[in-house]
């Protein structure tokens, strides 16, 4: 088949991509640009050009989101737009959910490598849709619309937009499905599919999409939102070229990427220390008890070791060598998801600023080992909720960079990590009464976007207000959310005591909530957060990890009677050992030490509890200032017994003054006592090493831990070698799993 090539200078896109990669490899400069000619010749014109494009993209996002219907898009702006080179490298991005700037880049490169130029063809006005995590996405509920931008006969770029859907027709309603274990459970897949031409979405696609998801209205309007944003970007590019000329545009987009690559390296040299950084994070997947599918009934822990090398030239390498394996669960990641995660971390910790594009990506060498959870490599696995692994894994990157920032003196930038974006409570049902009787509702609240931030080396972490993985920490108007999750009204929200990681500076705190099923039938409910292990890589320099989550719900309750008689009902779970649920309710109360569960069925008047994540702490808790501990007590962040046991602070509540009072002399003695306890209850490292080694030698490990070691030892020669050397084990030592 012979067609006229659409690349520059009569080249095909495939030739352009191969040449770009070859030249970068050979010269070390993006497209071989060793001199930023446009910037040097006329810096004002250059900066104005960049700012103009960025403004156009932000404007596209702000305008297009009003077309969307999903509350998550409209209320918290869970969307973003980006402009790409013909080869798929991002040039400039909007604000919003930045994880997708690089994922869409991979989708474009997938189409180029698959030679879409020949078949199905790439023409002016074409529209492509992608939500396949194997081809540049995170999970199926992130949906991307990409359009090619032509100038005369040449492709000069791509505009891409992504929105997060509340449902894409998976095995159960929701956006992060704990029960998906294979591709066929993940919901509808669009693998870089052409869905329109002449700027119009084809009717057959619209009909198919409406029948493929549970929320067709949201899908359809969100799709129009993405396309509208893309078209606004295309118009802005045409205006740019009319103003600046096509030759300037072509050179400018290359220089903008090369400049960002240089900015990244300079930023690394400005803020970090060269050397080797390491951290280890973990995530629990406790499916043995609640999974439906026989092969999914296994408890697992993901091993998420990260190594970052900061090199002499300011570039860095990032490796997850040693990661454990993928599995029959939705937490598997593809390379695109991991690169997206890398992007989010870098843009928040190092290269925040106006120049953000794939230049930064090019300055980072990555190793996501094939066959591990970080790059599973099997398209038939589930990739429905890679966040489960990705979110804790990247706390390690934040922590690693923080070691460098601390040593360099930039203590205000230190953050050991962030809270997990959960408890991601989800599900849905059908209204059984009221004006909406017979219609579906879905539980998909994005309260989870606001988590506790880790403490820094100079202050406490932000309480309930840090969005690591979402554009904003504010869920927006609660009334909007209640419109579509009206079958599960909230009964309460309040600060969850003792939920902030301990330390000289404490992690951010967070809150808990209780909700009740009402006027509904056929209700599914599930949720996800860490529970059997602490989140991520924990605290820093003596700070503790934030507490874990757990699952609590009550069925067959007497809430009907409680409401009728105006009696007290549980407003939270401040002390799980002496629960308000047990004290105030009659019914079947379930508590699980793990938090991630498969869907359960609930009925009217059943209650669910959820708790959002705190952040990790920094520094020895015994060094926390007494006025700060007093404030924690007054704010309900910590309780009297925890400040006594952890912070060594003796305090009593003064009823008359209505505040806590610290007994300074008793506190001094208590802190001395804790130091004595530290000596009594600790052992020299060698003794600890002997005891710990026995756990390995004698196989005194639970199955989840054995599986983790078995997989990591099998998957990574380097990790296995270091593991065996550390414990002085035989060269062929393996952990056996029955």
């Amino acid at each position: 088949m012979s067609r006229r090539c659409i690349g520059w200078n009569k080249k095909s896109l495939k030739e352009m991509l191969e040449e770009s990669e070859r030249v970068f490899k050979e010269t070390g400069y993006y497209c071989g640009i060793d001199k930023l000619r446009l910037k040097e010749e006329d810096p004002f014109r250059y900066e104005r050009a960049y700012a103009g494009l960025r403004g156009a993209l932000v404007s596209a996002r702000e305008t297009a989101l009003h077309i969307a219907a999903s509350p998550i898009v409209r209320e918290i702006g869970e969307l973003c737009f980006a402009l790409y080179t013909p080869e798929g490298d991002s040039i400039v991005v909007s604000t919003g959910i930045l994880v997708h700037v690089h994922t869409m880049s991979e989708a474009i490169k997938f189409m180029i490598r698959e030679n879409y130029e020949e078949d199905p063809g790439i023409n002016p006005g074409d529209i492509f849709l992608n939500n396949d995590p194997q081809c540049g996405n995170v999970h199926t509920t992130d949906v991307q619309t990409l359009i090619p931008i032509f100038w005369k006969d040449e492709l000069i770029g791509w505009a891409g937009g992504v929105t997060h859907q509340v449902d894409t027709g998976g095995i159960v309603p929701g956006h992060d499905l704990t029960s998906a274990i294979q591709r066929f459970d993940d919901g509808v897949y669009y693998t870089c599919l052409k869905i329109g031409s002449n700027d119009k979405i084809w009717k057959d696609h619209l009909i198919n999409a409406r029948r493929s998801v549970r929320t067709p209205l949201y899908w359809e309007l969100d799709e129009k939102c993405r396309l509208a944003g893309d078209l606004m970007i295309r118009d802005a590019i045409y205006k740019f070229i009319e103003r600046e000329g096509i030759d300037y545009y072509k050179q400018f987009i290359r220089e903008a990427i090369e400049e960002t690559r240089r900015i990244f390296k300079e930023r690394v040299k400005e803020r970090l220390i060269p050397g080797r950084y390491r951290a280890a994070s973990f995530f629990d997947i406790p499916s043995k008890e609640t999974a439906w599918q026989p092969r999914a009934k296994v408890d697992k822990i993901s091993n998420e070791p990260i190594e970052i090398i900061v090199k002499e030239d300011g570039s860095i390498s990032l490796s997850f060598d040693g990661a454990s394996g993928p599995g029959a669960n939705p937490m598997n990641c593809d390379k695109g998801a991991m690169e997206g995660g890398q992007w989010v971390l870098l843009t928040q910790v190092l290269i925040y600023g106006d120049k953000v594009n794939d230049g930064a990506y090019l300055a980072v060498e990555t190793d996501y080992p094939l066959g591990t959870w970080s790059n599973a490599g099997d398209p038939y696995l589930s990739y429905q909720s890679p966040w489960g692994n990705l979110i804790p894994a990247y706390t390690g990157m934040m922590k690693c960079l923080s070691y460098g920032l601390f040593s360099r003196g930039y203590r205000e930038e230190v953050i050991p990590g962030y809270g997990f974006t959960g408890d991601a409570i989800q599900g849905g049902g059908v209204y059984s009464a009221g004006p909406l009787m017979g219609q579906r509702w879905a539980l998909s609240t994005f309260e989870i976007s606001g988590q506790g931030l880790g403490a820094s080396a100079v202050r406490d972490g932000l309480d309930w207000g840090y969005a690591m993985w979402n554009p904003e920490a504010d869920l927006g108007d609660v009334e909007t959310w209640e419109l579509f999750q009206g079958g599960i009204p909230y009964l309460s929200r309040r600060v969850k005591p003792n939920n902030a990681g301990y330390g000289k500076y404490r992690g951010g705190a967070n809150y808990e909530g209780v909700a009740m099923i009402a006027n509904s039938r056929d209700v599914d409910f599930f949720g996800a957060r860490e529970g059997m292990v602490f989140h991520g890589s924990g605290g820093m320099h003596g700070g503790y990890p934030q507490p874990t989550a757990y699952r609590l719900y009550a069925k067959k309750t007497n809430m009907k009677e409680i409401i009728e008689k105006q009696k007290d009902y549980p407003l939270g779970d401040p002390d799980p050992a002496n629960g308000e649920f047990e004290r105030l309710l009659k019914g079947e109360i379930t508590r699980k030490e793990y938090c991630t569960i498969y869907p359960i069925t609930l009925e009217n008047y059943d209650l669910i509890h959820y708790a959002l994540s705190g952040g990790p702490g920094y520094g020895d808790p015994l060094e926390r200032r007494l006025d700060l501990v007093k404030q924690d007590l007054n704010d309900g962040i910590y309780t009297k017994d925890i400040v006594y046991k952890v912070y060594g602070v003796v305090a009593n509540y003064d009823e008359q003054r209505g505040e806590w009072v610290v007994d300074e002399e008793a506190t001094r003695k208590r802190r001395e006592e804790i130091r004595r306890e530290r000596k009594e209850k600790s052992v020299p490292f060698n003794e600890y090493w002997e005891r710990e080694r026995k756990k390995i030698i004698e196989g005194k490990l639970c199955d989840a831990v054995k599986i983790m070691y078995s997989e990591s030892l099998r998957l990574s020669k380097r990790w296995a070698k270091e593991f065996r050397e550390f414990w002085r084990l035989p060269e062929d030592f393996m952990v056996e799993v029955k």
């Binding site: 220390i273 050397g275 070691y403 003196g409 059997m532 602490f534 320099h541 990890p545 925890i642």
Partner: protein, 165 residues
């Protein structure tokens, strides 16, 4: 280009800056002389004479002593060669039972000890809690940071390391 006086940086290190004072420092361009100024402040605070090459931790420093680079606590305890993990010279308390974990975390709000334990690393000299690791039983001690001190000074700061002058 930002520049901060010694007093401001001392208050930063002490955690005494208000949010109104701290916010511009976080948002603004970084001060290129920060490393030298912080090093000077820290050196003046430690009760020993060895030259600090690199602050490693809230309480630990890579220092030059007798031609060697060692890790030293501000209390004076010496952890040995900086290229070896200082944690392997600490006293360690492992919380690997429900009882020991629930001593400091509320019921249901700590790890299951069969899945993950807490390791508290104390300085043998002053018993300051230097690190808390959360890891599955049997997980090797993590060596968090091995700085390349010579490259840092020679290539990035364009000057010889203080112990090679």
């Amino acid at each position: 280009m930002s520049k901060y006086d010694r007093k401001t940086l001392e208050r930063l290190i002490n955690g005494e800056l208000t949010w109104e004072e701290l916010k511009p420092i976080i948002s603004g361009p970084k001060d290129p002389d920060r490393f030298d100024k912080v090093l000077e402040i820290l050196q003046s605070r430690v009760p020993w004479k060895e030259k600090i090459l690199l602050p490693l931790h809230e309480h630990l420093y890579v220092v030059s002593k007798g031609g060697q680079r060692i890790v030293k606590c501000d209390c004076g305890y010496e952890f040995g060669d900086y290229r070896e993990n200082w944690k392997t010279k600490c006293r360690v308390r492992v919380r690997d039972t429900r009882e020991s974990i629930e001593e400091i975390y509320m019921k249901y709000m700590g790890s299951n000890p069969e899945w993950e334990e807490l390791r508290e690393y104390y300085c043998p000299g002053c018993l300051t809690l230097l690190d808390v690791e959360c890891a599955p039983p049997g997980y090797p001690t993590v060596f968090n940071f091995l700085p390349d001190i010579d490259t840092f000074y020679e290539k990035w700061l364009k000057k010889p390391p203080p112990d090679k002058k």
